[in-house]
Every structure is written in structure tokens, then in C-alpha cells.
Symmetry: C2
Subunit: 645 residues, 2 copies
């Protein structure tokens, strides 16, 4: 049996590191995004997404505006609201959300169809452009939102709406004659259908998701057929040289061995593949998931958990191609990677998946949002030189400061729903065997359903400042319970003390197992000193360089601490690293190192010369990557040249 996450309703996070971000969801992000969706943020990109629903519902007249998937901003906002209400009831917010749901229901067509772009602009073209039309993608996000809202509030209206839409999709797509034998150009509906099946118990939706997974990339490519229609009109000009790999439809999914194409599409597909593999005990599909996972984490992932290294088309490229200053590494792609890793962990019960999930959440996902919750990164570079991030150039996609909103605003609400559902990553639960897997070290107080019985637990920690946590088991099933404590790949000297007695800590599959028969306190501590990390020498962008990590956090140099021209800096790895507590950003550990830098005054002028520039001593101060660009615009660098190579 697969592990599942603990119910968000039953997890209360109060954490020194995360709460300052998670609490922003209800205090700042949900209200801010509500303003953004209503186009009330000055100088921000227009959204119009609620207005589209009003037009589709016939409440107002007007033109559709935005991307074909503009509806998903509303969906992800509602999903975040659903997650938030699960933990923090808020009558006013719930009323606002109910009104949005009323609006969505009004915009739903008689046959169950929901999509404001096609309803307003192209009512006769439904399902004719699966490649670019994003109807199924949008449907999937609405389904996820409906499930979250149902689970958060107990209200069924949105869920029922989405079941009607899902029924229409089941009647429309499939292998049977008369149905469309297609599949989505941007995966996501699979995840929505699977969640809908879980929430409603209706297996039909799971089977429909399986159809979409199984059909992809089999036989003649569906999208190429669509595009060869004489009346086909390209929606996205950048798809002019479309190749099936871009949507992972180049091969049947069980035959895919490398992560290809658009990174978000890819990881959303892999999530669905993992879910289906787990639900159907489909070994071939599970092996494909493992192979694809390994390809990503062993060859195509940034140290920060970023994926999709091409600055054009937000996509994977080739093994080891991980440039630092013109990459994409979309925030949404790292969210998808975390969702994929969570599923793999739940199926395989291996802590190694959570090592990557943790890396992605603590670095790329968290970097995606400002400390005040009001601006966002879509693109997550590992090296930034602001003047070169010019519009209309190779680095046009790289923004040195977070943006208030985006024309294509997938990332801000995706980060919001991720923070709002952070609790799902903390524990894995095996009800049948009364086992609790402790995955992320985030302070919380929770009730865990373990079959007929329950456990009440409290986790207390200052992680990642300090590498220790206490798990207090306040009550537990009569038969006792197993606790599996994750041992991160970077942990040293892992020590476990149960009820005052130190236990042997021999990890298996990334966990140390402890049995509890009675209420007790488990103390876990380990070391995670700041370290220098090298990249595989095949990563040409990083050769001769080192990065600094401490526990789950990747560190970076900022101009604010280290002056300008960071690529002219060398770090002396032989001189070691020093950790210091700092009050910056609500309290962090900074890391200092000794190094040298090319002395600008030693250069005799001109663009090229034969005289070697001199080096001068310097001290380098690194801060955690997620907090970069919170002190105004400046240079940033993760991979630092190593001295004495």
C-alpha cells in the first residue's frame, strides 16, 4: 500500500523557518492575488481572469483577455483558499470564494463544459486544439481546486460542478469509437481526475486519467495530426517548429527514459504516471517513473532543485546542460518536481525522494516569492548580472528582481497553493501498519489517523538553523506505532534518542525506524556543517567552481554583501567555511569564506590585454538562496570559482 499525506486539517504548522512564509498565504498572498485577479494592483500586468468568467457567465459583456489558460489563475487561487480554510477558518474569505464558485458554476455550459476562452472566443472549436488549447489543463486545475475546497470546507458545489465537467471529459475522450482519441497538450487533467476519483470514490475518473496516460505518444502523434489540419491556427507562435517531445508525446510513456520538453508538462505527467502506477500496481509504469526521476536528479537538475534549463520554451535540453545565468528553472517546474517526488516517496518509501523534494521546496520554490509575499520569480537563475538582463535579448526572461504579477501568471498562485499545502509533505502515513514517516523537519502539532486509531504528535525544531528536532508522541494507538525518521543525504552523525535512551541509527532506504509503545519523546540530532559542493565535471557551466550548501539550503553570494562583479571572485576551499547567526530576513545562518578577487584597479584598461590581472584577498559572505533579491537589485552568484585549481 502506498503512503498518504496526513490530512491538512489535522496539521498545524508553527515553525520558525516556514511560518513566516506560510502565514503570508492568508495574510498577504491570497488577498494580494485577489486584487491582482481583479486588476487592482497598480503597474502590474493585467489579469482579467475573473472578468473572463463574468463575461462567460453572461453577467457582463466584453472580450476575453489573457492566455488560453487564464482560468487556471482562479483555480489555483481557489485551491490555495481551500487549503488555507482547512487549517484557518475565515468566514469572509469563504464567502468571497463561494461567490467565485457561484460565478464558475454560472459560466459552466449546460453539458458541463467550463473554459472561458473557448466559451467566449471560440465556442465551435472546443477540443479541436488539444496541443495548444489548454482546455484539459485548465480542467485539471479546476478539479484540483474543487477537491481542495471540498476538503477544506466540506462544501460540494464546486466539486459537483467539476464532476459534471469530468463526466463530459469521460464521455468525450477514450479509445471507444466516436470518442476523441487524443490527450492533453499540457498535462494536468490527469492529476485533477485522480484527485476527483479519490475525493468522490468514483473510479471512472481514475480510469479516465489512466486512459490519458496510456494514450500519450502511442501511434501517430495526435498533435501533429491536429496541426496538419488545413484550418489549424497556431495559438503560440513559438510552437512553429513543434516537436512531440515538447509535450512528452514522442514515445509511449512506459518507453520514455529521459525527461524531455516543457518541464512543467513533464513533471505533471510523471505525477500522474506515479499515481496510476501506484493505483494499478503497474510495474512497467513505475519503472518508467524511476528512470525518469533518475534522469532528472542525476543529470538535469540544478543544485537548487530547479529544472528546465532552456531560457527559451521553459524546457529540458540535454544531460548536464545546466547554464547558470540564462536558464529558466521555472518556479512551477520545481513545484511539479516536489509533487512527483512526494508521490515516488509514498510509493517507494525511500527517503531519497524527499531529499530532492526538500531541496526544491527550500530553494527554488521559496525563492519564487518575496519575503513580503507580494512579488514573484517565474525564472530562477543561479547567477545574475542585472544590467545584462535586458528586454529583447538572450537574457530577457531573467529578472533580477521579483515581479508584481505576470501576463502568464502561473507561478504566483502555484507558489501560494504549495505553501498553503506544505503540510502534505511533512508526514507519510501507513494506516494499515500504523506507521508514521517523518519527512520534513517543520514544527507542527498534528493528529494522525492510523486506521481505527489516532496518534497525536508534536514536532519541535529550529531547523534548518539547527540540525535537530524533537518528536513528542502524545498519544498513539494501543497496539503501538512505528516511526520512520528521515535521514537526509547531507546528515552526519545522525543520532536518535527515544525516551531518554539513545537508539542505534542504521538508516534503511533513508529512514531510521523507531517503535513506540507508549507516549514518548524522540530526540533527533545530526550535523550539517556548511560544505563546498562540486558538480559532475560533465556540467560544463560549473567546472572549476564550487557551491556552498548547509543542510537543505543552497547559499549564494549577493552584491549587497560582496560588492559587484561576483564572477571575478575566487573562493579558497582549503580555508574552510564559517557559520554565523544573522538577524537578516528574520534570522538566518550566513556562511563566510576566504577568497580572492580580481582587482579591478590592476587592469590597465581596454577590452583585452596581455598583462595578467592581480588578485587581492577578500572575505565572502553567503546567504541562503531563497532570500536573494530581497535587498534591492544586485548581482547574485551560486557557483563560485575555486582558487588553487
Amino acid at each position: 500500500m502506498r503512503l498518504h499525506s496526513a490530512d491538512l486539517k489535522n496539521i498545524s504548522i508553527r515553525d520558525g523557518f516556514w511560518s513566516k512564509h506560510v502565514d503570508l498565504v492568508r495574510s498577504a498572498i491570497i488577498p494580494y492575488q485577489w486584487e491582482a485577479m481583479n486588476d487592482r494592483i497598480p503597474d502590474a500586468e493585467s489579469s482579467h481572469c475573473l472578468e473572463n468568467f463574468r463575461i462567460a457567465a453572461g453577467r457582463t459583456k466584453g472580450e476575453f483577455y489573457g492566455a488560453v489558460f487564464q482560468d487556471t489563475d482562479v483555480a489555483k487561487w481557489l485551491e490555495a483558499v481551500g487549503f488555507s480554510l482547512a487549517c484557518y477558518p475565515d468566514a469572509e474569505l469563504e464567502k468571497t470564494a463561494d461567490e467565485v464558485i457561484d460565478l464558475i458554476a454560472e459560466a459552466q455550459c449546460d453539458d458541463g463544459y467550463i473554459n472561458t476562452y473557448f466559451t467566449i472566443k471560440e465556442p465551435k472549436k472546443r477540443w479541436t486544439d488539444l496541443c495548444e488549447g489548454h482546455e484539459l489543463y485548465t480542467a485539471g486545475h479546476l478539479m484540483e481546486a474543487a477537491v481542495a475546497y471540498y476538503q477544506g470546507t466540506g462544501k460540494r458545489k464546486f466539486l459537483d460542478c467539476m464532476c459534471r465537467f469530468a463526466d463530459l471529459i469521460c464521455d468525450t475522450f477514450g479509445t471507444e469509437e466516436g470518442k476523441i482519441h487524443g490527450y492533453p497538450g499540457h498535462e494536468e487533467v490527469e492529476i485533477g481526475l485522480i484527485k476527483l476519483a479519490d475525493a468522490t470514490g468514483n473510479r471512472k475518473y481514475l480510469e479516465q486519467a489512466k486512459y490519458f496516460v496510456d494514450a500519450r505518444g502511442v501511434g501517430e502523434n495526435y498533435f501533429m495530426k491536429e496541426m496538419s489540419r488545413p484550418d489549424y491556427k497556431m495559438i503560440f507562435p513559438e510552437f512553429a517548429d513543434y516537436t512531440p517531445a515538447y509535450s512528452q508525446s514522442h514515445l509511449p510513456v512506459r518507453e520514455q527514459t529521459t525527461a524531455e520538453g516543457h518541464a512543467v508538462r513533464a513533471v505533471y505527467l510523471y505525477c500522474a504516471m506515479a499515481d496510476i502506477a501506484g493505483a494499478y500496481q503497474d510495474e512497467a509504469l513505475l519503472r518508467a517513473c524511476e528512470t525518469l526521476w533518475n534522469n532528472i536528479v542525476e543529470k538535469r537538475m540544478y543544485l537548487t532543485g530547479g529544472i528546465g534549463s532552456s531560457g527559451i520554451l521553459e524546457r529540458f535540453t540535454v544531460d548536464y546542460d545546466l547554464p547558470n545565468e540564462y536558464n529558466y528553472s521555472e518556479s512551477c517546474a520545481s513545484i511539479g518536481l516536489a509533487l512527483f517526488g512526494l508521490r515516488m516517496n509514498q510509493i517507494m518509501r525511500d527517503g531519497k525522494y524527499m531529499d530532492v523534494v526538500e531541496r526544491a521546496l527550500y530553494n527554488t520554490v521559496l525563492a519564487g516569492i518575496a519575503l513580503d509575499g507580494k512579488s514573484f520569480f517565474y525564472v530562477n537563475p543561479l547567477e545574475v548580472w542585472p544590467p545584462a538582463c535586458m528586454e529583447g535579448t538572450s537574457k530577457r526572461h531573467v529578472k533580477p528582481v521579483r515581479q508584481k504579477w505576470f501576463g502568464v501568471a502561473c507561478c504566483p498562485p502555484n507558489i501560494a497553493r504549495t505553501l498553503a499545502s506544505l503540510g502534505q509533505y511533512i508526514y507519510g502515513v501507513d494506516e494499515e501498519n500504523r506507521a508514521l514517516y517523518v519527512n520534513l523537519f517543520i514544527s507542527n502539532e498534528s493528529t494522525i489517523e492510523l486506521g481505527e486509531a489516532q496518534a497525536a504528535v508534536r514536532l519541535t525544531t529550529t531547523y534548518p538553523e539547527e540540525a535537530s528536532f524533537t518528536l513528542e508522541i502524545k498519544s498513539l494507538p494501543e497496539e503501538g506505532m512505528d516511526v520512520f525518521l528521515r535521514v537526509p543525504d547531507f546528515a552526519e552523525n545522525y543520532s536518535v534518542t527515544v525516551a531518554g535512551t539513545e537508539q542505534p541509527a542504521q538508516p534503511e532506504n533513508g529512514y531510521v525506524r523507531v517503535h513506540a509503545d507508549a507516549p514518548c519523546t524522540i530526540l533527533v540530532s545530526f550535523a550539517m556543517p556548511a560544505k563546498f559542493v562540486y558538480a559532475n565535471p560533465q556540467v560544463r557551466a560549473d567546472s572549476g567552481k564550487v557551491a556552498i550548501v548547509r543542510g537543505p539550503l543552497v547559499y549564494c553570494l549577493e552584491e549587497a554583501d560582496n560588492g559587484e562583479n561576483l564572477p571575478a571572485v575566487y573562493v579558497d576551499t582549503a580555508a574552510g567555511l564559517e557559520e554565523k547567526k544573522s538577524p537578516l530576513f528574520g534570522g538566518i545562518v550566513t556562511v563566510t569564506a576566504r577568497g580572492k578577487r580580481i582587482a579591478p584597479q590592476s587592469w590597465k584598461g581596454g577590452l583585452y590585454g596581455t598583462e595578467k590581472p592581480e588578485l587581492t584577498d577578500c572575505t565572502l559572505t553567503a546567504i541562503p538562496y531563497p532570500y536573494w533579491s530581497n535587498r534591492g537589485q544586485g548581482e547574485m552568484l551560486v557557483w563560485i570559482k575555486e582558487l588553487n585549481h
Copy 2:
């Protein structure tokens, strides 16, 4: 008075280094491009450019195909033919060219207008889209071709055609009421008009060129006005966020201080600015030219003479932004830079301009064409890792091997016309003062017009293999003549011997002056050992790295000589460089160095790790940059990590 180039008719190049490339123009490139223009090259991009003229002339029926400036391929081919016929009469080729000229004349409208795109597709939209329509750009190339063909053959038909077109342009554009107050979106017509003025003696064309130069960027931006017209239709989707700087129309030209926007447009404008500054003794314009030149060569130019570092939109970015593996550095832009430098040299009589011209011609321009003359680079990177140069990604524009042809095929015929007119760069002539400037060290035998008299000279050299040349003055004016011998910026121990007597060699403005009263032989020798070059530390892409140069040639490492993963290589600058003669590529000097490389077997696997990879000793072999990618596909690298930094 401005210097001028010697007449191509009177220069006969027979050079160990250049002839193998220059001779390709008539033996391979002109015939090959003729086939390409007739769409007879298998597996190459379609051209259709002659067919467009046939359709416009009414000879056949069909649709226009290609870019709006497709006509310029024919123009540049004819210009190369004109240059070639000047030196190498060829009746068959001339007959073919005459037929093309007949076709162009037939495609000319009654009022003189020539442009197959507008004539076939948009006859009512003439001159309505100066920003993107490229009518004036195309006109300029046709004018240049007509002048070259007239000078090469003495035939006036094409010249007369183009005078009629130029007359129409003079009647259409200008400050007077009723005329269009616009200027070209892509500069080039200015150069064409100036050459037409020179060839015909009709100053009206010069004045028209001056109008275009003077009008640019003054007052409300002409292109933004065009684009704001309700019926304006974008031709190039990538211009959606057009900014005036892209076409150097953001400021009046005399106020421009940095090289901005599309690199080819920019340098073609600067050529015209220099010509006008020289013709009108316009000091303010000349100062602007100097300022723009300095901005390029001191802050925005690759060591190879490449310019326009953005992989998107072929454009300049900001000072010191010179990435090596995803830059553009279009071949045409370096050709334009050479043309600009030539003009500045002729006006300022300073050898420093020819240092840059030589660097661009010997490296980027020559790299643009394969040793067999049948494939071409449009983009000229300084670092290539072939697997990462994928379609649909950030490095989509970088090609690891030369291409047979291009949809937008500006570069191949531009390289052809440059090689065919290489003679124009060798000498600068001051007829009034009977002075000859020796700029490029290329073996040739020439007759130089010096006012009423002539000089007959022969230059003999094995440069750039050896750093010496002999200039034999076989005859000269009765009054004697001055010879100015260029002292390249890299030359050491420059020595000049006239008629067996060593002369003091004190260069002034980059030249050593020698007076000759009678036929004599001048021997020049200097040293140009292979050297390591550093970039200004502000060039973040090159910090901690060195390049190898020897004389005018930049060197590079290729996978063929050095194995794969070149960024994992370090060069030991303390160990020096060794030069070796090699039979490769018809005879070159290779340069070897000692270094170390990250040993792949020392890496314990995985993507990231804390163990430092080991270095092993290695020997590095560098070849001249222009010859890279002539031995199949492989990695290439110019800037090498320096050891012991």
C-alpha cells in the same frame, strides 16, 4: 582629403593564406550560390530569390517566397560577381550576370521602383512599413551591386536602373513638404546612395544619403508612428516589443554614444555616418563615429572581431556583456565592422582601425565560410558544445557545423562579396600627396594611381605564418612617393629596411613612414609570438580565463585535438606556448600549451558531490579560430580556464 582604396581592377592577389579562400569566390562560391539561388542545392533551405524576380517581371506566375529582403541575395551575388569580374574576366559568368540584370530591369516598375516582395505581394503598401519592410535596405544592396558591376565590367545598364530607382527615392523621401519624412528601418541605402554618387558623380545621391543620416532619431520616432497606425501589420513577430534603439533611431545620430540595437544595422549606419562626415567635413558627425567606434572596440566586441552578443535579435546588449556559448556575433556584423573600420582609417589615417578590421576579417569573417566554400556560419560562438545546441532552446541559433544555406541567407553572399573585394582593405591611397598606406599584409601585385602618375608595387609575404613582408616598388612617380607601413598593435621589434638599409621605425598613428625616390625594396619584419590574452575583468564571461592569439589570429581548442569536455581544461600560462608548423588546412601554425584537466574518472558519479575532482596533466593544441569545425562536429573553445589563479 580622405584616403581611398586602390582600384580592385589593379590589384592582383596571390597569397599563401588568402588565395585559397579568395579563389573560392569564383571557383566555388559564386557557382554554388547561383545554384542555391536557383534552389538546386539538395537538403538546403529554399531561396526562390530569382524566381521572385521572374514573377515580378511577369515571366512566370507564382507566389513570392522568402523574407521581405530576399532580393538582397541576388544583389550581393551580383556585387560579388562585379568584384570578381574586375580582376578575373569570365565571359560565361558575365553572360549569366547580364541575364540576371535583364531580369531585374524587367522587374523594375515604370517609376523606377524595384522590390519583388512589394511588387508581387503588397503593391499598394510601398513605403508604408519602413520599419520592417526593408525596401530601402534592399535598394541599397542593389545600388552597391550596380556600382560594383559597373566598375567591374564597364556596363551601365544595371547602374542606370539603379539611378532611376535612386531618383525615385530622392523624390519620395526628404524634409520637403509632400515627401515622406522617414528613414530606413535597416540602414544600407545610405551606403548604396553614396557609392552611386561616387560612381556617377551625381551629388544628389550623396545629399539623399545625408538626409537619411540626419533624419534618423530626430523628433517623434518615425517607426513608432508607423506602428501606431490602425492598419499596421507586424511582419516580424519578434518585433512585438520594438524599441527605437533596435534601429538606432532612439537619438539623433550625432548624440549617440553607445552601439545599440541590431548589430548589422548599427555598423551599416556608422559606415554611412563616416562617409558623410568625410564628405561634408562634419566634425560633430565624425566625433560621433569615433565615440561609437570606441564603445564597440573597448566594451562590446569579441576578441575575434565579433559584435552583437545577444542570441536573440542579433543585437548589442550592454558594455562587457560578451557570453561565449550563446552569443550571436553574426558574420554580416563583422563584415560591417570591417567596412566601418576601413572608412574610419581612410578618414583618420590611423592604423588602429585596421587592427580591428584585420582581426574581424581573419577571424569571424573567415570562420563564416568552410574551407571548400560550400557551407557557412551565420552565428559565430566562441565556445561550442554540440549536444546542447538544440532546436527550440536557448542555444538554438548556435550551429556546431556550417550550414549549406539559410532561409535568411544574408551571410553567405555577404562573405562572398567581402572576399571578392578583399583588395580594398590592403592599401590606402592619398593621390594628392602621392602616399600609399600598406594596411594588410597580403601578397599582391598592384598598380596604384597616384594623381597623374602611377606606382607599380609587389607585396610578398607568408604572413600570418611569418611576421615579415617585402614591398617591392617597381616604379613610382617622378616626384617620389611616401609609403606608410602599418605597425599592428601586436607587433614587436618592428624593423624596416629600405634598399638594404635599416630605417628607424618610430610609428606615428600606427604607421612607419618611408620615403621612396626610386624603385626599391622595403623589407619589414617584426615578431608576433603566440601570447596569452586576458579580457577586462568586467567581462564576466571571461574572468579567470585566457585566450591564445598569434598575430591577427585568435586560436581555439577543438575536440579533434584535445578530446571532449573542453571547459574542464586548464592552461598553465607560466609554462608558455610553443608554435609548430602543421600541414592542416593547407598549412597553419598550431600552438601547444601545457595544462591540466579535470579527470572524469576521479568523479564518483552523481550530479553533485563534496569530493574535489582531481586534475591530470595534459597538453593542449590550439588551431586558428577561422578553421574550426572543418573536421566534423565537435567541441570548440576560445577562452580557456587559467591554472594557478
